[in-house]
């Protein structure tokens, strides 16, 4: 006996999604702006390779006829423009599509601030991104001030999916410890973090139930809570968040940083090491104080 298989109709799925892209905002005079860009690319070769870039022309307001030449000159620098932002314009089919209604990326999850090499200023313990970098990117971002590393830029540069509470754990080819996103924004790690592992969470707080080993690091846009001993590095408020805090049951950390302000093991020696502490910013100073 045979049965006819039921005919399946597959529906086509359309979904709206938001993605994070880098926005370049050229300014007049364009030749000088391109020089600045070249200089910046010279410092960070390959930074734009493979990254989707939106060209914001609302400042420059060029003629439509000049846009193709500008895009070509960016293309020659390895920058692929996949959309153009220009109010009230209508572009031909040979140009990338127009985007509108852009929202600025904020720290609560949308944009991981493009990593810049933090140049640590030993005197203040604060690192400051060069103006060059600030110009090359979209103007409105706060200047990066973290004791950064390139790994972060790598992870941050990935397209983050919005609304999914996406977790990016970069673990240097090492284990991804068991990760649970408790609710949007909070990353819960139930296993200890081993030496060499790196947890990058650009969408909020990180809670670690075990210990954080020496030679590992946690980078979060929000606060970091460690219920074991913190022996590695903890970098909270990595994308600019003055109210982020770090809590740990026992502070043996190599480095603690909040919103770019950091302190090292040496500086904490004899003051707050070995204790249950919290670290937070107070009058632009990083305070590491015992709990209770």
């Amino acid at each position: 006996m045979t049965f006819a298989a039921p005919v399946e109709t597959k529906s086509i799925r359309f979904r709206a999604r938001s993605f994070v892209a880098f926005t370049l905002t050229p300014e007049a005079p364009i030749t000088e702006w391109l020089e600045g860009l070249d200089h910046w690319i010279g410092n960070s070769p390959g930074y734009f390779s493979g990254r989707p870039v939106v060209l914001d022309l609302n400042v420059l307001k060029p003629d439509v006829s000049d846009i193709a030449a500008l895009i070509a000159s960016l293309g020659a620098r390895g920058i692929r423009v996949y959309a153009v932002e220009l109010e009230g314009a209508s572009l031909g089919p040979e140009l990338p599509p127009l985007l509108g209604n852009a929202k600025e990326a904020t720290t609560d999850g949308l944009l991981a601030q493009p990593g810049r090499k933090g140049r640590a200023d030993a005197a203040t313990g604060k690192s400051d991104a060069g103006d060059e970098a600030g110009k090359a990117e979209h103007g409105n971002h706060e200047h990066g001030k973290h004791g950064g590393d390139e790994g972060r830029a790598e992870a941050a540069g990935k397209l983050a999916e919005r609304g999914k509470g996406g977790v990016e754990a970069r673990a240097d080819g090492v284990a991804e410890p068991r990760l649970d996103v408790v609710q949007s924004g909070t990353l819960m790690i139930k296993s200890p973090i081993r030496s060499g592992q790196s947890i990058f969470h650009p969408h909020g707080d990180v809670i670690v139930l075990g210990s954080v080993a020496s030679g590992s690091e946690i980078i979060a846009s929000g606060s970091i809570h460690v219920y074991g001993t913190l022996r590695g590095r903890a970098i909270a408020g990595a994308q600019g968040n003055l109210s982020a805090r770090i809590f740990c049951r026992k502070n043996e950390a190599e480095l603690i940083a909040v919103d770019g302000w950091y302190t090292t093991a040496e500086e904490m020696e004899g003051v707050s090491r070995g204790k249950a502490v919290q670290a937070f910013l107070e009058n632009d100073m990083l305070a590491v104080v015992p709990l209770n």
């Binding site: 284990a175 991804e176 296993s191 200890p192 592992q197 210990s211 030679g215």
Partner: protein
């Protein structure tokens, strides 16, 4: 199906090879069929410690490349007849190992032996990763020193990421074996305490092997300490560790300094 146990550490010189030989011999003495596989291609040592260096004809690389059969390369121990050694090649380097080749060899060994001990090279590179790749369990050899403990922590991270079991979402059983524990130095606070080591690594303890000249002597004479001097304190610790590895529930006693203990007794008597 046998169990594949990788003996690893990250750091060199902590006693991986010595521990592989001692644990393997201890398990084999109970009648289990045991194979010891040396993964340290280019810097092999297990053959020396097992006293089999003059009987090596074929090695792991020959088996992987198909120039020798596994049965030809396995060397039977002269003291314990259920103990076998698969030596590494001294003339090649770690690139001679392929994942498929290692996998095939391990699968064959697993089907014949009760226990397969893989002696990992130091480091976290290819050789070490292939040694742990197909393991069911891991013995992490650690000295009570900060550098050794941190390297072990790194290796545990790799065990949880790069092994076949971990990639299939399965659990890989891990045990810490603390070697070269010097009770006198520990008492003076010059070494990490066992509690510190376990707190940092958060992995169950398999055993504590006291620092002992007898272990070094046995290694140089080509005999695992568990075979040549089974009454020695270090040998006893290895024998107990082997029983724990087989699932027995034995309490671990932290070695204390005998002399100090006797002194205290004598002191009390004198008083």
């Amino acid at each position: 199906m046998g169990k594949v146990v990788v003996v690893t550490s990250g750091k060199g010189g902590v006693g991986k090879t010595t521990s592989t030989a001692a644990l393997g011999a201890a398990v084999a003495k109970t009648g289990k069929k045991v194979a010891l596989v040396d993964f340290d291609v280019g810097l092999r040592n297990l053959d020396l410690i097992m006293g089999a260096e003059r009987r090596v004809v074929f090695d792991l690389v020959n088996v992987i490349q198909g120039t020798a059969k596994l049965s030809q390369a396995l060397i039977r121990d002269k003291r314990v007849e259920t103990l076998f050694l698969l030596p590494a090649s001294q003339t090649r380097d770690k690139d001679a190992l392929t994942e498929e080749g290692v996998g095939e060899v391990i699968e064959k060994l697993r089907s014949v032996f009760d226990y397969v001990f893989c002696d990992s090279p130091a480091g976290i590179e290819r050789g070490a990763q292939l040694a742990m790749r197909f393991a069911d369990e891991a013995v992490i050899v650690t000295n009570p020193e900060v550098s050794s403990v941190r390297d072990s922590d790194r290796i545990i991270g790799l065990l949880d990421a790069r092994t076949m079991r971990a990639e299939h979402g399965e659990h890989i059983a891990k045990h810490v074996l603390v070697t070269r524990y010097d009770a006198a130095r520990a008492a003076r606070g010059e070494m990490l305490s066992i509690d510190d080591v376990l707190e940092i690594l958060s992995v169950p303890l398999l055993g504590i092997i006291p620092e002992s000249q007898d272990v070094l002597r046995a290694s140089n004479l080509g005999s695992p300490v568990t075979l040549s001097e089974p009454l020695n304190a270090a040998a006893k610790a290895y024998l107990e560790s082997a029983r724990r590895l087989e699932g027995e529930d034995l309490p671990v006693v932290v070695p204390f300094e005998r002399k100090g203990f006797l002194d205290r007794l004598l002191g009390r008597r004198a008083a």
